[in-house]
Symmetry: C2
Subunit: 446 residues, 2 copies
């Protein structure tokens, strides 16, 4: 174990960076500026020696004149002029996949921030890495600057995780935070987020929950030692959340957050992404704006919460660099925490078996006995109601109402089953006492 | 880098545990129960083979019959029958120090949960470890189950930390939380904490802030790359916090927490432990009960918050185990993040130069012009007042009043300097308008 005792004698670690967007350019800048500090810490130089990107002439605020240039990231990944390949191209297939695979097959360590790639090909890439003896780091792929991958792979001893949940998308959290603080609509918040660069021109991937789902699939694999299953996640975005929902939730002591949640259940593993009512007193409720937070519930450590920036050039580049440093130090750990042949097949717990509380907002026809009929249908199915709110100021119009007088009612249920709630709502709808589609938001016990 | 490729061929890692209190017994139990899981993860067996403790016959709920027994921890530390020595004896000198030193000198890796030992001898022990090529892990020494040492040593890339602060003592946080929630006195909370096992029979070490100071000194060294300086910390405990302080602070939007804070300042490094007003909306304000939390403010990652259990057998044993696993994997990192010869001498920023806001509670004599005189003294010294509270229901009696009619006044200042505040209060006291000793609580910008 002393082969690295005289670390100063080690040759410099030569880094090749593919993709010089915000994160890539920041990484190059950090390594150029902090080289001396890192050398002190590691007893070994870490230097970017080669890069690959689409345009050679674009001004990125960094000096690439002394670096070897590659037009083709795969050629860079395979090149013997580097010791470690950093993939910051993005995309779940295409050149990112080809380059990462080429580097790993050549036994060359890889660091990537590419969650889509990991979610889709993580197990296959881990297998290649293990076969060739190369390390594969992806701290930056989940929750940007928060060291959650390191914590899961190395930091929890043998603690078993029962549930992981968190805020994993800064765009959604920014929108929900502003909706809550300022009383403005989803559309207005989204426009601001786009103007500020927090949301893409096409925001679907973020606001519909798919980005969160990718990250959750990676976390679930690390937490439960199972294969990554990004396509077996129940996903619901935040586009349907109204001001009324946020206000009523707040009156009842809750905030609405888009959470990714994975937990063990008797049926397998539940993976779900949806807007969620969380108690205002909970730690995640206090994580606002573009910040992310991941909570890990373990048997030995109880709950651990990690909160910080989930995106942005410097935090993400900093996480990429922490993986590079681990590899420079010679740290060895299986990419997915356990060797890939020890991963168990993913067994999906059906969403209909999910148990929890529900926030139900519906438009009841303004006729005598409507509320009683609704409540008794719930009682028949064994759904116990925690709160009911029907107030003159609470009125969410529904195009389906079409002139029919309605009253907006919000019901909070105690713990029950998804299938039961859905069945009961269908029953209530067919009874003819409500108009339009009820709003259903899950409540998480935290 | 492939020497551990076929990890399953590695010999078992034989662990010797000195000290079989709560943490030690839990660790032995975990290793006995989770051996198979760990073997899967590591491709290597980790087994406790020897123990040292005071009483051989005491029932600890674990089976030690198959383990080699040592009466003397130093003999265990030196024994060739183990590969890694775990020190859970406690105490800053004595057998703990002798045993850890003996193991490191023999080139044997050590894992310890002993903050007092680290605070006093950390730099010397790091030097011995580096000289002999042995690893030294102490994740469990600071904030129990929270992986803050790993994050600081390995997880932040080259990010520079400007300030570290947090709740590092569960006893104090439990007491302050209950005082805040239930309106009961410090003494009553302390008695309950003692009955529940959250506080020692002699609680001085916890409630006077010394335990927090030990942990802070270790964190400051890791954050700033300086030597550990546990004796150059400004320390103030929570025994002087009254219900009145908690209530008034709450009315003004603050909670009172015992924080350990270390930050870079133009004069050097400020290390301080004191009761602190933190905004209710801040993340640390939401960390209640026996939980701990550490916030790291860095240039690249902005703020990172890690929250979780700061003590208790399972979380602490889990952190000890995560160090053991790192050593079993062959991870190599200097004990204090940088090699000890790169540590800079500790340069203490004087507390009188500290800048911040202040909460000042004083008993003004009930005579015309008293408040005006106090306020104008503050104005003369350039202290700008943010809030003043004087209410009939706010009355903290002071034995020094001795029949003199007084009114309790609370002033919150904007940012000013410690020396200025102290000088002004002394001036106000000599003016004769106040009775007794004013209460001074610092406000932290978070």
């Amino acid at each position: 174990m002393q082969e690295q005792g005289d670390a100063s004698a080690l040759a410099p670690l030569r880094i090749g960076v593919a993709g010089l967007g915000n994160v890539g350019a920041t990484l190059v800048k950090i390594l150029q500026n902090d080289g001396v500090e890192l050398n002190k810490k590691l007893g070994r130089q870490v230097v970017v020696t080669a890069v690959a990107a689409r345009s050679r002439s674009r001004d990125r605020g960094i000096d690439i004149s002394g670096l070897e240039w590659f037009d083709d990231p795969v050629a860079l990944a395979k090149s013997d002029s580097i010791d470690l390949f950093v993939e910051l191209i993005g995309g779940e297939d295409g050149p990112a996949l080809a380059a990462v695979r080429a580097a790993l097959e050549a036994g060359r360590p890889v660091v990537t921030a590419n969650k889509a790639l990991l979610a889709k090909h993580g197990v296959a890439l881990a297998r290649i890495a293990e076969d060739s003896g190369a390390q594969l780091g992806f701290e930056a792929a989940v929750a940007g600057g928060i060291p959650v991958i390191k914590t899961l792979r190395e930091g929890l001893g043998s603690a078993r995780i029962g549930r992981v949940y968190g805020i994993m998308n800064g765009t959604c959290n920014y929108i929900l935070t502003r909706m809550g603080n300022e009383g403005i609509s989803f559309q207005e918040c989204l426009r601001d987020a786009q103007a500020l660069g927090y949301a893409e021109a096409d925001p679907t991937f973020d606001v519909e929950g798919f980005d969160t789902a990718h990250k959750l699939a990676i976390l679930a694999s690390l937490c439960f030692g199972c294969e990554i299953a990004p396509n077996e996640i129940f996903v619901e975005g935040i586009t349907g959340i109204s001001q009324a929902d946020i206000k009523v939730a707040s009156d009842l002591g809750y905030k609405i957050k888009l959470l990714g949640i994975a937990q063990r259940s008797p049926e397998g593993i539940e993976q779900r992404v949806h807007p969620t009512l969380v108690p205002k007193s909970s730690a995640v409720a206090g994580v606002d704006g573009v910040l992310n937070a991941i909570a890990l519930e373990t048997d030995y450590v109880h709950e651990l919460l990690l909160a910080g920036p989930g995106a942005g050039g410097p935090p993400t580049a900093s996480s990429v660099l922490s993986d590079i440093l681990d590899i420079a130090r010679g740290t060895r750990v299986p990419p997915l925490g356990v060797p890939s042949h020890e991963l168990t097949p993913y067994r999906q717990a059906p969403m209909r078996a999910h148990e929890g509380g529900y926030y139900i907002r519906l438009n009841a026809k303004d006729v005598p006995g409507a509320l009683a009929a609704i409540a008794s249908r719930m009682g028949e199915r064994g759904i116990s109601i925690e709160s009911v709110i029907q107030r003159p100021d609470l009125r969410v119009s529904d195009p389906a109402a079409d002139g029919i007088a309605t009253r907006t009612v919000v019901l909070l249920t105690h713990e029950t089953m998804e299938a039961t709630v859905r069945g009961t709502i269908a029953q209530i709808a067919s009874d003819g006492f409500i108009v339009g589609e009820p709003q259903l938001i899950r409540i998480e016990k935290i």
